[in-house]
Amino acid sequence: MTLGTRPAGFDVDPSLYRHLADAQVNVELDTGDMILNLGPQHPATHGTLRLVVRLDGERVVASDVVIGYMHRGYEKLTEFRTYPQITTLINRIDWLSSFANEVPFIHAAEQLMGVEAPPRALYIRTVLTELSRIATFVLFLGEMGLQVGAITPAFYGFRDREYVLNAIEAATGGRFHPNFNRIGGILTDLPWGWIAETRESMRKILKSCDDFEDLVVANPIFQQRTRSIGIIPAELGAAYGVSGSNLRASGVDWDLRRDGKPYLAYNDLDWKVWTHPDGDSFARYWVRLQETRESARMVLQLLDNLPAGPVMAKVPRIIKVPEGEVWVNTENPLGEMGYYVVSKGATGPFRVKIRTASLSNVSIAPWLLRGVYVPDVITVLASLYFILGDIDK
């Protein structure tokens, strides 16, 4: 498998999109229009993203995304850690869905070692991955409301995330950074009573998804603010490397859980990939709402069919990964996440390349923000849904 795995049929000629080439703004020299500096400390960027926009009145003439305020050098740090230590680090890449970050890396290590986790461990990993997806998405569902000016959905989002975080904490001991995966399985089995409680939480999530549908999606002002704003054409999105729900909202039926190399327990499940033909901010909200529901249903299914057995395969006490290279990519909440691991047979990797979804997702922002109004800058950025740790690594 090569690094740049993209859905078939998306070869694009960049010259068709004229302002691709001149998307860079020379902010130091230009003095014509008003230059507004959004960030690095700004409520809409949820983190330290800096956005320099050149305004003509309220209309954006050009914009430049400045990243790197949170660069922590994870790719370099992994070279000085052993494999079990690295999961602690990569938890913090996308801090909203930490558990999902661990999965592709652990898979890469397992593939190099030729170890396979027992089915029960795979199922529990799938449950926790979907739980972290829900935790990420309900926060988005509320956050997006906040960015268009409605405060109430944000509180509902935080309330719902609490149900999920409680479940994750009960199973793993960590709310945000579980560090629960081990090479060859997971740390421990689920605690007693966890399954019943999680079922109850998933029903609550499904109910509050209906609330979001009524309160936000059906709201005429919300539709006015998001429909046909920030449209990503499918080909261009794929060319920029946009992935995940952002690409599915542009009508691309592509989900690594179904279309990628089989991983976790997704092939045993009955589920659906949601797409929306419009590609605008509204479509991105709608797709994430449907995916939250789908994830909650997947968790219910998984809990019904949870196999018995051990949660840990036989692995040596000191983990040494044989020489080799492997590329593993998975469908994380924010999009495609991948690790290219090069091993020279030591206790730690020789080199790790981390492909994060947000970096590619946000790279299309300067193209999207041309000609929109200042309030739309916020909705477009919010609907792309990036996490700063996921951009800067």
């Binding site: 507004l36 960015q147 000016g149 603010r225 309030p375």
Partner: protein
């Protein structure tokens, strides 16, 4: 009995009236802030914080907030136009005080019973935009400037439907005097039956809806809060204000909401009058303020309900709503009211 009958001289009369206005506006702002911002919003949004301070139902929250604001350092940005920057919050609050002057709480319970009361109230309400522009310009901050220009454009656009919505009431009442408008409603008849009077909301329901929408925009509350827009302009023209000056804006916001709710209650819901009691009776000087207060809370409930429910419009969508929908509808409303007034 009025203050003039007491024969205590104009100086004392003025002093008493000033104390009433100066006391009632902040008190009204606090009541609205406590009831709606802290209690209703907490229930609607399942917030826990405002229910905690002080033990019983979070009664201490508002007082604590006030103490916090007073403790804060009074920061004036280095590049600011200092005198204008300091004056701006006062100008914003001033318009609220001036509006309150004509609001009647009883047959004689009013600071100034002007013949052109409605006209006066709506005219001074637009003074606040000067304060907002001063604040935005003097802050020497791009966000503040954008916010204040948005506020100016918005207040000018919505002044028109606000005035046009009230014209229907003025035509029907035949007077611009707020006392006269209340008396018209108290003495009115519904198809010859005068038991309940005839609050103008029954005939001017279109006007009432327009007035509420336009008032919401004048207050720059969601869904019309682009001037403050905390997620994009980071509170707009208020961004550089701290401590007590910020509190002034806060009091101005809620005080103005209080006065607009009072105006709506007076124009459409019969003001201080209640059925079965003669509205011009002396007793209403004591009962009236209470009655008006209940009606104000009803109207304010509608305002804040919308505030906590809706997302915010975009600036161009807001202008389109005003010029393409509200103003034509209010013109049709005036035409219909005028025709019916002539016909009956």
């Amino acid at each position: 009995m009025t203050l003039a009958d007491l024969d205590i001289g104009w100086g004392w009369t003025l002093a008493i009236k000033t104390v009433i206005v100066m006391g009632l506006i902040p008190a009204g702002a606090l009541v609205l802030g406590y009831t709606f911002l802290l209690k209703m919003m907490s229930h609607m949004q399942s917030r826990l914080g405002p229910m905690d301070p002080g033990g019983f139902h979070g009664w201490f929250q508002l007082i604590g907030d006030g103490i916090k604001f007073m403790q804060k350092e009074d920061i004036i940005p280095a590049g600011a136009d200092k005198r204008v920057f300091k004056m701006a919050p006062a100008v914003v609050v001033l318009s609220t005080f001036l509006m309150f002057v004509v609001l009647p709480g009883g047959p004689d319970f009013v600071v100034a019973n002007l013949d052109v009361g409605v006209f006066y109230a709506l005219a001074v309400s637009s003074l606040s935009v000067i304060g907002v522009l001063m604040a935005g310009w003097a802050s020497s901050n791009k966000y503040a400037l954008l916010g204040s220009l948005r506020a100016a454009a918005q207040l000018i656009a919505y002044e028109l439907p606000l005035v046009l919505a009230v014209i229907g009431v003025v035509i029907q009442a035949g007077t611009m005097n707020l006392h006269g408008i209340v008396m018209q409603q108290a003495d009115g008849e519904i198809f010859g039956w005068g038991g309940l009077g005839n609050p103008f909301i029954l005939t001017q329901f279109v006007g009432f809806a327009l007035f509420m929408v336009a008032a919401q925009a004048e207050l720059s509350q969601p869904p019309f809060d682009m001037p403050v827009a905390e997620s994009e302009l980071v509170a707009g023209y208020m961004v550089e204000y701290t401590g007590f000056r910020f509190l002034f804006f806060f009091i101005g916001e809620f005080g103005t909401a209080f006065v607009y709710a009072g105006l709506a209650a007076t124009l459409f819901l019969g003001g201080w009058s209640v059925p079965f009691i003669d509205a011009d009776d002396d007793i209403m000087n004591f009962l009236g303020p209470g009655v008006l207060f209940v009606k104000i809370m009803l109207v304010a409930f509608l305002m804040f309900w919308a505030r906590f429910t809706y997302p915010r419009l975009r600036e161009d969508q807001l202008q389109a709503l005003a010029w393409k929908w509200l103003i034509p509808i209010s013109l049709v409303n005036i035409l219909a009211t005028g025709a019916l007034k002539v016909a009956f």
